[in-house]
C-alpha cells in the first residue's frame, strides 16, 4: 500500500501557506545550478514552472510533444481567470473565492490546497499584467471583470474570448526568455514515454523524438509533470486532438497513485455532435451564460419548430426556473445534468434531440447587437463557422461535452506525488477542484502551481538530495526503461491488423460516454468493465499502424496514446463503481435526491481515492486519503 501523507501544515487555514513557506527547506543560490529539473509539458503550469525555476537558478529541461510550447492546449481556454482582487467592490475576498471553489467542487477537494489557490490568485494577475497580458480594461484604464458560474461576484479577468491564449503567451514569453538566457533547454517534438524511478525517487524520463523516432534517456534531480488532462479517453471532447494521458499513465504504472480518475467535467455549453466522422467538440465559453438564456420548448412536439415561432409562454428557461438564485450561471455539473434531463424528457432541440437553446435575443434587445458583438464576437464567429448558423438571429444550439478532468495523479500539499521527486501540476494533478471545477479556475490553478507553488516546494525536496547525487542516464534503470519503450513502440508496429487506431478510439469513446459520462450506474459500469478489456484485447490483435518507427508517424503516436486510454478508461469505470455516492461531476443514478440532485455520502466517501498500480492484469489497490475539514462544514450544495 502506498503511503499517502498529505503534508497539510498545521495551524489556522489562512496562515498555513505563509507559515509553510517560511518553514520549508531552501537550496542555497550557488547550489541551485547543480540541480537539474525536468519539466514535461509547457502549458500554463509547465511553462510558468520552467520559467520560474530557471529564474531561481536551477538547470531546467522542458519537453513538449508539440512543435512549439505555444501550442499547448491551455491556449484554447476562452472565458477567463478568477482572482480575489475585489476590484468590483462587490464583496469578494480570498475567503469567498476559497469557499466558492470548495463548494463548487462539492466538498471533495482539500481545504488547505484550495485556500492557497485563492491566496495566490491575486499574485497571478499582477504577474500576468506585468508580462504584458492585454486583459480587458475599462475606460479609466483599470482592469475589467465578468462573472462565471458558481459565484455571485464578478472576479473573472479576461482577454476577449482568448484568455487562455494570452496567459499562455505570457508564460511562453517567460519560457522563451529563460531559453534565451540559457537556463532552460527546450526539447520540442519530444514525447515522454516512461518515468525512471531509482530507489523510490523519480530521477528521469525516457523520451521519443516524434520526428526522428530516436528514444533517449534524460536524468534529473526532480521531474515535474504538467501534461494536462485525460478527457480524450472519451474520443470526442473539447480537448486538442493531441492531448493525452501517456505521461501520467506511465508514471502511474511506475508507482504514482492516480486520484479520483472518475471525476470528469462535462461542460454544458458546447456545439452538439453532428456525425460519426467528428473529431472534436467545440466549447462555447461559459461567459456566454452572463447574457445568454438557456431554454427548451415546454412541449415535446415543439422541439423541431423554428425557435422564433415558439412563444415565450411555451418556453422553459429551466435553469432560471430550477435555480432562481444562480439561474443560468449555476455550476457546470448542475447545468449539464439539467440539460441531459430535459433532453431525456424528449424536449431536446435539433434533429438528434441532443441540444438546448442558448438564446441572446433578450441580451440583444437590452444591450444592442453591437455590445453583444463586442463581448462575444469571436465566439459567435466560431459558432457560425462550425454550424453555418447566425447566433445573432437565432439561438445557439448547445449540448454538454467532456471538457476537463478533475482527477489526476495524487499529490501532497507540496504538489509532490507519492513517488518522491515527482511533482505534478495543473490539470494533470487532482488537487484543487474536487468533484467539479468552477469556470475560470483551471487557468488560475495552472499558473498558481507553476509560478507560485512549485518554485518553493521543489526546493524543499531538492534540499534532501545531495548536489551531484543525480544518477547517470547510463544507470541500469534507465536502460531497462528505454528498452521497454522501444519494445512497446515496435509492438504497435508489428500487430499489422486491419482496423485503424481511430476506430478503437471511437469505440472506447462510445463506451465511456454511455457508461461513465454524465450519469453512471452499477450495471452500466460493470458492463463497461467487460467491454473495455475486450476492446483492449482486440486492439492488440487487430490494430493497423502503418509506416515505421524512425520517421514522423502520427498513426504510431496516436496508437500509443489510445493504448494507454484503453487501460485508463477501465480504471475510471472502476473508480466510478467504487464511489457509491454522487458528487459534482460524478453522478451515480442510485444516489440522488427526488429532485435529481447529487446525494453525497460524507460518512463513507469524504475521501480521495488514490489508485495504486499492482501489475498488468491485476486489480489496482484503492488507497484513501480522508478529507479533513477544519474550517468549512460540508453541506448539501444549494444553488436554488
Amino acid at each position: 500500500m502506498a503511503t499517502l501523507d498529505s503534508k497539510i501544515p498545521p495551524g489556522e487555514l489562512s496562515a498555513k501557506w505563509v507559515r509553510h513557506k517560511a518553514a520549508i527547506r531552501l537550496v542555497n543560490p550557488a547550489n541551485k545550478r547543480k540541480y537539474e529539473v525536468i519539466v514535461v509539458g509547457a502549458g500554463l503550469a509547465g511553462s510558468s514552472a520552467a520559467a520560474s525555476l530557471a529564474e531561481l537558478g536551477y538547470k531546467v529541461s522542458c519537453f513538449v510533444f508539440h512543435d512549439s510550447p505555444r501550442r499547448a492546449h491551455s491556449i484554447a481556454a476562452q472565458g477567463g481567470i478568477n482572482a480575489a482582487k475585489n476590484y468590483q467592490n462587490d464583496g469578494d475576498s480570498v475567503h469567498r473565492l476559497f469557499y466558492d471553489t470548495l463548494k463548487g467542487g462539492d466538498y471533495r477537494s482539500r481545504e488547505a490546497n484550495v485556500h492557497r489557490l485563492a491566496e495566490v490568485s491575486v499574485d497571478i494577475i499582477d504577474q500576468c499584467v506585468a508580462q504584458g497580458v492585454p486583459f480587458a480594461r475599462e475606460y479609466g484604464g483599470l482592469l475589467d471583470n465578468r462573472s462565471f458560474g458558481g459565484a455571485q461576484v464578478s472576479r473573472t479577468f479576461y482577454a476577449r474570448g482568448q484568455t487562455g491564449q494570452q496567459l499562455l503567451l505570457g508564460a511562453y514569453a517567460a519560457l522563451s526568455k529563460g531559453i534565451a538566457a540559457g537556463g532552460i533547454t527546450l526539447h520540442t517534438h519530444s514525447e515522454m514515454l516512461d518515468l525512471v524511478v531509482i530507489d523510490g525517487n523519480a530521477k528521469g524520463i525516457i523520451v521519443r523524438d516524434l520526428v526522428t523516432g530516436a528514444i533517449t534517456r534524460h536524468a534529473a534531480d526532480a521531474v515535474i509533470l504538467a501534461t494536462g488532462g485525460y478527457g480524450n479517453v472519451f474520443n470526442l471532447s473539447t480537448y486538442a486532438r493531441g492531448s493525452n494521458a501517456s505521461a501520467i499513465w506511465r508514471a502511474y504504472k511506475r508507482g504514482a497513485c492516480f486520484a479520483n480518475p472518475c471525476f470528469t467535467q462535462i461542460h454544458p455549453t458546447c456545439i452538439p455532435v453532428t456525425g460519426d466522422y467528428q473529431s472534436k467538440l467545440t466549447l462555447m465559453s461559459e461567459s456566454l451564460r452572463n447574457d445568454g438564456r438557456i431554454w427548451v420548448p415546454k412541449k415535446k412536439e415543439d422541439r423541431l419548430k423554428p425557435p422564433a415561432s415558439i412563444p415565450e409562454a411555451d418556453r422553459d428557461y429551466y435553469l432560471e426556473r430550477i435555480y432562481p438564485s444562480f439561474g443560468n450561471l449555476c455550476p457546470r455539473d448542475v447545468a449539464s445534468r439539467a440539460a441531459k434531463r430535459v433532453c431525456d424528457e424528449g424536449r431536446g432541440v435539433g434533429v438528434s434531440g441532443l441540444g438546448v437553446y442558448l438564446d441572446f435575443g433578450d441580451a440583444i434587445g437590452r444591450l444592442g447587437e453591437a455590445v453583444v458583438r463586442s463581448r462575444y464576437g469571436n465566439l459567435f464567429d466560431i459558432y457560425k463557422e462550425i454550424t453555418d448558423e447566425n447566433a445573432y438571429q437565432q439561438p445557439m444550439r448547445i449540448f454538454p461535452a467532456v471538457h476537463y478532468t478533475m482527477g489526476g495523479l495524487w499529490v501532497d500539499y507540496n504538489l509532490m506525488s507519492n513517488l518522491p521527486g515527482l511533482f505534478v501540476l495543473g490539470e494533470a494533478n487532482f488537487s484543487d477542484h474536487g468533484a467539479n471545477r468552477l469556470g475560470a479556475s483551471a487557468l488560475m490553478q495552472g499558473l498558481a502551481d507553476g509560478y507560485f507553488v512549485v518554485p518553493y516546494t521543489v526546493g524543499d525536496y531538492l534540499a534532501t538530495q545531495k548536489p551531484g547525487s543525480r544518477p547517470s542516464a547510463d544507470d541500469a534503470a534507465f536502460k531497462a526503461a528505454e528498452e521497454s519503450v522501444a519494445w512497446s513502440t515496435s509492438k504497435l508496429l508489428t500487430v499489422k491488423g486491419k482496423e485503424p487506431v481511430s476506430h478503437f478510439h471511437k469505440r472506447l469513446g462510445h463506451i465511456m460516454w454511455q457508461y461513465c459520462g454524465m450519469a453512471r450506474n452499477k450495471a452500466g459500469l460493470e458492463q463497461a468493465m467487460k467491454e473495455i478489456p475486450a476492446l483492449r484485447a482486440e486492439f492488440w490483435e487487430n490494430v493497423n499502424v502503418p509506416g515505421s518507427g524512425d520517421t514522423l508517424n502520427q498513426s504510431l503516436e496516436r496508437a500509443g496514446r489510445v493504448a494507454d486510454f484503453l487501460e485508463l478508461g477501465e480504471l475510471m469505470c472502476r473508480d466510478a463503481l467504487a464511489r457509491e455516492e454522487s458528487c459534482g461531476g460524478h453522478f451515480r443514478e442510485e444516489h440522488q435526491y427526488p429532485d435529481g440532485e447529487c446525494k453525497r455520502d460524507d460518512v463513507n466517501f469524504a475521501h480521495v481515492a488514490a489508485w495504486e498500480f499492482a501489475g498488468d492484469g491485476k486489480v489496482p489497490i484503492r488507497n484513501t486519503e480522508p478529507l479533513v475539514y477544519e474550517t468549512v462544514k460540508m453541506s448539501v450544495r444549494n444553488y436554488k
Binding site: 456525425g275 481511430s502 498513426s555
Partner: protein, 263 residues
C-alpha cells in the same frame, strides 16, 4: 444538418522527409458530409489509406478550433484555404461540391523546411521569439496590477496584435517569405503597453535582426500576409514596427559610452 454526402479528389503533396523529393498524389474521398471540417475529411482519407496499406498523409493539427496555430495547409494555393480570418481547421466541406479537385500543400518558405508531407518545421519563429519577444519580469516581482492604468484603446489595440497564433500563414502567403507581420504583431503588442517600454528598443532591434538572419525575406507592402492571417492582424502593425525600428536605430547610435570604455 445536411445529410447528402459527396466525393472530392484531393491532390496532396507527399514528401517522405526533409530534403527528399516530393510529388503530388491524387486520392478520392467519398462520403464527405458538408458539416465535416477539412481536417476531418483528411482523417477519413487517412483511415481509407491505412486500410489500403498506403501510409497516411502527415498533416499538422491539434486544437481544431483555430487557436493553437498548428494546422498549416495551403489549400488551392491559399494558406489556410478559401475563407478569410480562419485557420485550416476551421474550413468546412460545405465550401466544396461533388467532383471538386482540391490541391493541398504545405506552407512553402525556405525558413520552414518540410518535415514530412504537409508538416513543416517552424522553429525559426521560436528563435525570433527568444530574441526578445518578452518583458523581463521575474516571477514574484510584479507590482499591483491596477497600479499602472492602461487606456482601453491601447489595451484593445495591443490585444488586436497579441491575437497572433504563430501559424506562419503570413510567411507562406508572402512571395518573399517575409515574417514581418508575425514580428510586427509581437513587437506592437508589447511595445504598445506601458509594461513593454523599458525593453522597447532592444526588443525591436533584436527580433528584426534575428528574423533577417534566419532567411526571411523583406516586406514589399503587398499585404498578402494580412489577407491570409487567420486572425486578420492588420498590416498597419508592420508600419508601426518600421517606425519603432527607425527610432530604435536612431537612439541606439547615440548610446552614451561609459568613460574609459574601450571602443
Amino acid at each position: 444538418m445536411s445529410t447528402t454526402t459527396f466525393s472530392v479528389t484531393v491532390r496532396v503533396w507527399r514528401q517522405e522527409g526533409p530534403g527528399k523529393p516530393g510529388a503530388f498524389a491524387d486520392y478520392t474521398v467519398g462520403g464527405v458530409n458538408p458539416d465535416m471540417s477539412f481536417l476531418e475529411m483528411l482523417d477519413v482519407l487517412n483511415d481509407d489509406l491505412t486500410a489500403k496499406g498506403i501510409e497516411p498523409v502527415a498533416f499538422a493539427h491539434d486544437c481544431r478550433e483555430g487557436i493553437c496555430g498548428t494546422c498549416s495547409l495551403v489549400i488551392d494555393g491559399k494558406p489556410h484555404g478559401p475563407h478569410h480570418g480562419v485557420a485550416s481547421c476551421q474550413t468546412y466541406m460545405r465550401s466544396y461540391r461533388e467532383g471538386d479537385v482540391i490541391v493541398v500543400e504545405p506552407f512553402r518558405a525556405r525558413p520552414f523546411p518540410v518535415i514530412k508531407d504537409l508538416v513543416t518545421d517552424r522553429t525559426a519563429f521560436e528563435k525570433i521569439q527568444q530574441a526578445g519577444g518578452f518583458i523581463s519580469i521575474r516571477t514574484g516581482s510584479a507590482p499591483e496590477a491596477n497600479s499602472v492604468p492602461v487606456p482601453k484603446e491601447v489595451a484593445d489595440l495591443a490585444m488586436d496584435a497579441a491575437q497572433c497564433i504563430g501559424c506562419g500563414a503570413c510567411v507562406a502567403a508572402c512571395k518573399n517569405a517575409s515574417a514581418m507581420l508575425f514580428v510586427a504583431a509581437k513587437v506592437s503588442h508589447l511595445g504598445l503597453l506601458p509594461q513593454g517600454q523599458p525593453e522597447r528598443d532592444r526588443r525591436v532591434l533584436a527580433m528584426v535582426s534575428t528574423m533577417d538572419g534566419l532567411g526571411f525575406g523583406s516586406c514589399t507592402n503587398q499585404y498578402e500576409c494580412s489577407a491570409a492571417c487567420p486572425k486578420l492582424i492588420s498590416h498597419d502593425f508592420i508600419a508601426r514596427m518600421n517606425r519603432d525600428y527607425a527610432k530604435a536605430i536612431f537612439r541606439s547610435s547615440f548610446k552614451p559610452v561609459a568613460a574609459g570604455a574601450d571602443e
